[in-house]
Symmetry: D2
Subunit: 333 residues, 4 copies
């Protein structure tokens, strides 16, 4: 039985608590939040667990085996570090940390203490992303040309981070998961209309081969869009996460290139065939992820969404900061 405490009971914490509470081999033992009213609500739902406004109580408690951190990004490093120092396994919201050195330090600390870090890249546990991973791994799409994502909606503005740090970690972690090659450079543009934090931004990611990634994130769109296009030389894929039934469509479409003598005569023809929408597993992603966390900790497995995976995302995020400051210049990773 793995005893888990949840730190932070705002937007995501309740989902963590609920899913942890539903795992047979784990137990939700405590919740920490700075707001006493929130804690009263927690006690109403989970009468038998400890509640506290002081995270140290959870982190230092011998009853706790692991903590799940669902607090603002700028607190992740301190909380995770103390938890690890106290011998607790750590499940932490995305993005992992506010900087690359913080992430590296936590990874090293966990390594030394043989503790598990799992970064909550929830989308990697959805049926849609699992199916995309499978399709790419099995070569259905062929060699990839691009990964193009649009994730826009109205709000919710964050105070401490810009729209890239808020929305793009989803897409960076998905790209990291489904694409085998690792990116080499990043360019970002954007604008802030209110508080100095970009609320609209565009990120280009380069790969060693000629694949390109692009990410359109926006807190000011009147319509919600969750759309990812992935083009390969065999097939192309569109993932619309707002579709209830046919989230993924695979297009038997492509470009055939025959190179004749001169490049100017390059012949490009088009192939257009069937469209296919595979059935997607509908199990709640966070439930699968929470079970996977318990499994990894219990059986001493390294999760694929470990600190290293979190670090790879933070590296891209940090590079977007630099590129934004240099007005779009490409930053090597």
């Amino acid at each position: 039985m793995l005893n888990i405490g949840v730190i932070g009971y705002g937007y995501w914490g309740p989902n963590l608590a609920r899913n942890i509470g539903s795992i047979e081999s784990a137990s939700l033992v405590s919740v920490c939040d700075l707001n006493p009213d929130v804690l009263k609500r927690v006690s109403g739902i989970y009468p038998n667990i400890e509640v506290t406004t002081d995270f140290n109580e959870i982190i230092s408690s011998p009853k706790t085996d692991a903590v799940a951190i669902a607090t603002p990004v700028f607190t992740h490093y301190e909380l995770a570090k103390k938890a690890l120092e106290n011998g607790k396994h750590v499940f932490v919201e995305k993005p992992f940390t506010s900087s690359v050195p913080q992430a590296e330090e936590l990874i090293e600390l966990a390594d030394k203490k043989n503790l598990t870090i799992m970064v909550d890249h929830t989308f990697l546990f959805t049926g849609a992303v699992r199916k995309i991973k499978e399709l790419i791994s099995e070569g259905v799409l062929g060699n990839l040309y691009y990964f193009d994502s649009t994730r826009v909606n109205l709000g919710l503005f964050q105070h401490d981070i810009n729209v890239i740090w808020d929305l793009a970690p989803h897409d960076f972690s998905i790209m990291d998961y489904v694409v085998e090659e690792k990116p080499t450079a990043v360019a970002a543009t954007g604008v802030s209309h209110f508080n100095g934090k970009e609320n609209i931004a565009y990120v280009t990611v380069y790969f060693p081969n000629s694949m390109i990634g692009h990410f359109n994130v926006n807190w000011m769109s009147p319509v919600k869009v969750r759309n990812t296009l992935i083009g390969g030389d065999k097939k192309m894929l569109v993932w619309n996460d707002l579709e209830s039934d046919e989230k993924i469509k695979i297009y038997d479409k492509g470009v055939e290139v025959t190179t004749p003598e001169s490049i100017y005569d390059l012949l490009i023809s088009y192939r257009s065939g069937d469209v296919w929408s595979p059935k997607i597993n509908q199990t709640e992603a966070l439930k699968l992820e929470a079970e996977y966390f318990v499994d990894c900790v219990t059986n001493n497995k390294t999760p694929f969404n470990d600190g290293m995976a979190g670090l790879r995302v933070v590296k891209i995020l940090e590079a977007t900061n630099k590129s934004l400051r240099k007005r779009g210049e490409t930053i090597p990773l």
Copy 2:
């Protein structure tokens, strides 16, 4: 009666010829194309006009008052120049020219000879763009936050230009038309998979105020998308040009910002109201544009889509070339 010759009878030329032929106060007098088979087809449809493989015949003919140029971009400058030198008014495909100096020279030449240049920014004559212009001019959207366009499809690859020069002139000319402010800088990223010409690209355009423009153009998308979002502080607009009935939707949505003492406490709230889709004029845009060309020439009016408008688009295009070479660096306009 304005006598017009058409140079280039490939993809767009037939549409030009048909629309010119249908104007009461104009006359289609000649067509030039390098392919004799094409000219045979032209004679079948228009038995009474001259056809030739030599554009000089059209440009120097005393019977011709104006020429409509629908040839590859790299030929625009030479053809337009000769036409102007021969005293002919010029209607020329987008993009206007291959470079800024070419455009400037043509404008000066036309000025000197009191001839009209019209650049074929067809979209400015669609009911949808007219309605967007009207909504922005009348202040319905308020101050603009962003102009975000996606124009992607499978093919058609061009040999002489990249995807930005092929697709984005539509969007740059539309933005130029509907947004009063003029852009100050451009950043572009992209990739070429085949022949050295980018087939996927992303362009960010900066404005003196905090408005931002972004353009996603792609020849390798399995799905066709023609989507533009324009966000203002009063209303927001989505234009989906592939919708047959409700191309434009105006969202009474927005962000309300109240600035308290510290910036960290900035309060942002959301407004969400009705959606409204105005009726759009369905007249064929090219027909309206051809009539407007005849009207401008006949009555010596300066068209709003004149050489200067064409030049403003070429300036952005040229800046994207520079930015691509410098891997995304922002290029001042």
Copy 3:
């Protein structure tokens, strides 16, 4: 404080219990279900209420002021009757009863005892139906030509009732609510593929004026459709309940008829203008309905969705049975 017991904790009962439990001026005091495992689950969620497999305990308990009945249709009459006889107010699932005489008897009994019957026509408390009612009442649509509804999906097959009794009560109650005129006759066609109960059916409803209603209900559709078209002589409306954002669209479209001398020369022209999608209240319908029930009982108000409203729906349902037996013959109401 109104004390309410819930009878039947299958698909809908948990929603009733949750909403009743959340009303300040009401109290969920008991739940009855035939399945002891279900009752254990209930006790887990609501530790302080009584649970029982015997509905008589609830119906006869002096602690109970009202009962909410969420059991199969064929049990409604008996349960409601006993509840009323024991002086309890009744909230009952749709359809109200299995037959017109049953409904009439319950209405009379409640009248005599000055008790409230509310039939759970939940859709009447949705923002969408409220908006449609408002638009029709205020004359925005003008005189109505038709009410055409499609409600199809895959499953869930019911054992005791056919697809009309399962799905169409929603639409009949909505039509009854938003259309002032009352229907005069009904024709129904359909087919059963499995157990003698129609799983696909079509119902036409006639009105005294030339308005017509039509209902397409199907348990065997691969796609879920919830679509209602309402045509008036001023405006026309489409309600797609599966849209998350723009559920209702109002079309400024119509037919203009000018009657010249001979009917053969009747001139019909078309009007096509803007489309408008009003903002819809998103509050959970059942929450509003439960509050309304408590308000009606407490303040002795007659609900608009009272027994009479339930009876009007049962009358149409009963007429569809007759029409189906007579293979589509029109049955007067």
Copy 4:
């Protein structure tokens, strides 16, 4: 070389003329229309053909081998009869005739004279319907449960026929083509708001097995819908003819029934798998049909859309008239 005359140059005639004119082994030799202005327009486009306001000229001309009749329904019988009597093959718009006896007489006459009748059921030559036919014939859908079609839009009101005779022949001919079983009975309901001809109608068609057909036709819908659902026991199909790319979707969805001892315990479970959208041939249907007509006449083949196919559609249409007069009563075929 088959010489064909076109009678009637209103909405559909121009398409017939254009397609006939494009067939190598056929020749458009004449056009008849009552309106002299129309004939002037025809001469402008086809300078070398005969034009006349008197159909007898075409029907009796020795130069004519076949006629294509695109006039109002009530004239089909007389025109086709005279054409057949004069030894001309007949291609005639849908619906074939105004009544069953007319159709039977024409079929007999053509038989006696060994002439071809082809009824213009254009949809049978579309890629979509061809694909549906193929899927059903090959058993992909399994045994059919239902054929449910919605064909609604705003206008165009016809003066001489009601909305069933105008729109439903498309659907009846498609059902006749793709479903092997033939219908046994028909029930129809509807209403007329203007001139005594129903402008909204609903038709149910029964088959010897438990398959059911239903047709929703409406001239007063603010939105255009062209939607057909076909449910089989193996797969289900949705055809949305307004989709440009994915007109047909095949759902691996269904119902599994296991019959235990009592019918009340009938177990029904649901299967939900992939969705698949096959590539559809995009060739213009009327072009294929016109070529097929020329081929059938030239090579003395009996077309599948012959007079008998036309008659089967007219039989259903005539039955809807009877059912409408008897307010929905089922009429045996």
